[in-house]
Amino acid sequence: MDALSTVLVAMVAGAIRVSTPFLFVSIGECLTETGGRINLGNEGALVLGAMAAYACAYQTGNPWLGVLAGAAAGAALGAIHGAACALPRVNDVAMGIAVMLAGTGIAFFFGKPYVQPSAPHLPTLPLGLWSASPQVRSALEVSPLFFLGLLAALAMWWALRATRAGLRLRIVGDNADAARALGLPINWTRFLATAIGSGLAGIGGAFLSLSYPGSWNEGLSSGQGLMAVALVVFARWNPLWCIVAALIFGAAGALGPSLQTVGVTWGYYLFYAAPYVATLLILVATVRPGRALRGMPGELSIAR
C-alpha cells in the first residue's frame, strides 16, 4: 500500500473517529427536536456523560458500564431540561443554556479527581486485518460505538416513520393542537424524547472519554453539543442525514492534522469553519420566507 493510499485510509479512519460523538449528539438532538423541543443543553449532557463514564469505568474497571453510566447521566440532565421546559412559558433556548452550564459545572466539579488516573478504554474492532501494512491495521481500529451509533440512527429513522410511537412523537412536535385533539400526552412525550436524546448525547460523551481521545479533562469537548443544533438543521431532522452531517463535520475537525501531513498547512482555522459556512449556504439556498424549512417540526419554538 503506497503512501498516498495510507494517508487516505488514515483520513477516513480519522473522520470516523471524530464524527462518532457528533453522530450520537445529533441523533439525540434530532429526537428531541422532532418532539418539538430544542435542547441546547446537550453540550452539558455530553460533558457530564463523558465524566460519568470515565469515573464509572475507572471505579468498576469495566468500560461498558461506563458507557451506561454516561447514558444515565446524560438522561438525568435531559430530564431536568424536560421537566423544566414542560412548565408553561419557560423558554427552552434559555433553559438549555442554563442546563448546559449546570451540567458542565457538575461534570468539572466531580471530575477533578479523575483527571490524573487512567480508566480502561473501550475495545476496538480491528477492521484492517485485510491489510499487510501495520499502519493501516492500526488506523482501522474502529470503535463499536460508531456502529452502535449507525444502528441507533437507522433504528430512529425507521421508528419515526413506521411505528406508532414515532408517529405520535412527530405529531406532538409538529402540531400541538392536533396532538391534543388525539389525546396524546404532549408533555410526557416531549419529556421522554428530551431525556432519551440527552442520554444519547451522554453516550457520545462516553465515547470521547473512553475511546477517543480516551482521557478525561476539562477541555475534552470542543462544543460538539452546541454544534449538534446546526447539524440537525443541516440534516433536516432526518436521522439518516444526521449520519452524513456527522461525518462531514467530524471530517472537517479531523482533517487538520492529516492535511498537514501532506503539506497543506495554511488556514487551519478556516477548515474548522467550513462546515458551518456550508450549513449557512445550504440554508440560504433552500429556505424561503413564509415557507418553513422543510422537515422542521412545527412546534419548535424556533420555528416561526
Binding site: 459545572g105 443544533v229 478556516l270 469553519a273 440560504v284
Partner: protein, 381 residues
C-alpha cells in the same frame, strides 16, 4: 416575549380611591402596576432562594458549610471595596452583550450570537485604532467605537437579513455565525493581522498608549461600566417610551397584526438585530481599549454567552439587566476566593450559576398564574 408595559397598565390609569378588598363596579385597578412590578421581583427572588436552598443541600452532601460558603461569596462579591469593584468590572461587558439579546427579543427574535459580534467588534476596533494612531485620543477612540459597533451591527444584522430575506431561523443562524466569526478572528489574528513581535501570544499590534481607556478617577473601574449602564437606560427609553419601541413590541407580540397595520416588520427586525449587534461590538471595543490593548485570543471570554442568560433572567427588560449582571458578576468574582478559602474547585461557581439560572428561568412559569397579581376585571365579579 415579555414586554415592559401592557395594555392593562395603560387602562389602569385613572381611578378613584379603592375600598379595601372590594372592587366596585366600573372602577379600574390602580394597584395593578404595583402588583405587576412586585410579581416581576418576587418570582426571581423566590427562585434564587430555591436555588440557594438546593445548592446548600449540595454543599452539605459534600461536607461543606453553606453558611461559610455564603460568607465567602459575600466577601468575594460585595464585602470589600475591592470585591465590589471586581463584581462591577465583571458586570460591565455583560450589560452590553445582554442587550445584544434583549433588543432583538422585543421583536420576538432569539439571537444568541453575541460572542461573534464581540470578537469581530474588538478586532475592527483594534484595526481602527491602529489606523487612527496619529489622531488625538478622543478622535481615535471615536473611530474605534464606530468601527466596533459597525462590525458588530453588521454581523448580527446579517442574522436579521437572513431571517427577513430567507426566513432562516435567527437562533440557528446566529449560533452558526458565531462559530464562523471566531474562526475568522483566529485566522486573522494569527495570520495577516499578526504583530510579528507577538511571537508567543499571537496578537495584533497594540493600540498606542495614548488611546488606552484609563480607569475612572479614584476607582479601578473603566468607563465600560458607565457605557453599559447608559446603554441599558437608553434601550429602556427606546423600547418603552418611543413610538419605534412600541412598534417593535407590537411586531414582537403578533407579527400578522403588525403587518396588517402596515408596520415595516422586516426593517424593524434587521434594525433591532443591528442595534443589538452594535452593543456587542461596542463591548468588544471597550475590552480592547480598556483592558487588552490588542486583539488576541483573550477576547474570546464567553461574555456573549453569559449575556444570553442575563437577558433571559432579566426577562428582556433592559433595566433589569443591570441587577442581573451584577448578580452574575458577583458570583463569578467570588469564584477565586472560593477556591482559595474553601478549597472548592472553580467549577463550583459554574454549578451555582447553573442552579440559579435553571431556577430563575423555571420561575417564569409563575407569571400570570397567581391570581392576586393579575389585573382585576373592571365591572365587578
Amino acid at each position: 416575549m415579555a414586554s415592559v408595559t401592557s395594555v392593562g397598565e395603560v387602562a389602569a390609569g385613572a381611578g378613584a380611591a379603592e375600598a379595601p378588598g372590594a372592587v366596585a363596579p366600573g372602577r379600574s385597578d390602580r394597584w395593578y402596576p404595583a402588583r405587576r412590578a412586585l410579581e416581576a421581583a418576587i418570582a426571581p427572588l423566590g427562585a434564587l432562594l430555591v436555588a440557594a436552598a438546593l445548592f446548600s443541600v449540595f454543599l452539605l452532601a459534600l461536607g461543606k458549610s453553606p453558611v461559610e460558603f455564603s460568607m465567602v461569596i459575600w466577601r468575594g462579591a460585595f464585602g470589600s471595596l475591592f470585591s465590589l469593584q471586581n463584581t462591577l468590572a465583571r458586570a460591565a461587558p455583560l450589560l452590553l452583550t445582554a442587550l445584544c439579546v434583549a433588543v432583538p427579543a422585543q421583536l420576538g427574535l432569539v439571537v444568541i450570537g453575541g460572542e461573534g459580534a464581540l470578537v469581530l467588534g474588538g478586532l475592527a476596533a483594534t484595526c481602527a485604532g491602529l489606523a487612527a494612531s496619529s489622531l488625538p485620543p478622543s478622535l481615535a477612540l471615536l473611530a474605534m467605537a464606530l468601527a466596533g459597533t459597525a462590525a458588530g451591527a453588521a454581523w448580527i444584522g446579517l442574522t436579521g437579513v437572513l431571517r427577513v430575506w430567507r426566513g432562516i431561523n435567527e437562533t440557528v443562524a446566529s449560533l452558526v455565525l458565531a462559530y464562523v466569526a471566531i474562526a475568522l478572528f483566529n485566522h486573522l489574528v494569527e495570520g495577516p493581522l499578526r504583530d510579528p513581535a507577538s511571537l508567543n501570544k499571537p496578537s495584533t499590534y497594540a493600540i498606542p498608549d495614548k488611546d488606552i481607556l484609563g480607569p475612572l478617577p479614584g476607582t479601578d473601574l473603566h468607563p465600560g461600566l458607565l457605557v453599559g449602564v447608559a446603554a441599558c437606560i437608553l434601550c429602556w427609553v427606546l423600547i418603552s417610551r418611543t413610538t419605534l419601541g412600541f412598534a417593535a413590541r407590537i411586531a414582537g407580540g403578533n407579527l400578522r397584526a403588525a403587518r396588517l397595520q402596515g408596520l415595516p416588520v422586516g426593517a424593524l427586525m434587521i434594525g433591532a438585530c443591528a442595534l443589538g449587534g452594535a452593543f456587542a461590538g461596542l463591548a468588544g471595543m471597550i475590552e480592547v481599549a480598556a483592558i487588552h490593548q490588542r486583539a488576541n485570543a483573550s477576547l474570546i471570554a464567553g461574555y456573549g454567552y453569559a449575556g444570553i442568560l442575563i437577558a433571559f433572567l432579566a426577562r428582556q427588560n433592559p433595566l433589569a439587566i443591570m441587577p442581573m449582571a451584577i448578580l452574575v458578576g458577583g458570583i463569578g468574582a467570588a469564584g477565586g476566593l472560593l477556591q482559595r478559602r474553601l478549597g472548592l474547585p472553580d467549577a463550583t461557581v459554574l454549578v451555582l450559576q447553573g442552579f440559579v439560572f435553571v431556577s430563575v428561568l423555571a420561575s417564569e412559569t409563575f407569571f400570570g398564574r397567581v391570581a392576586w397579581f393579575q389585573p382585576r376585571a373592571a365591572g365587578g365579579r
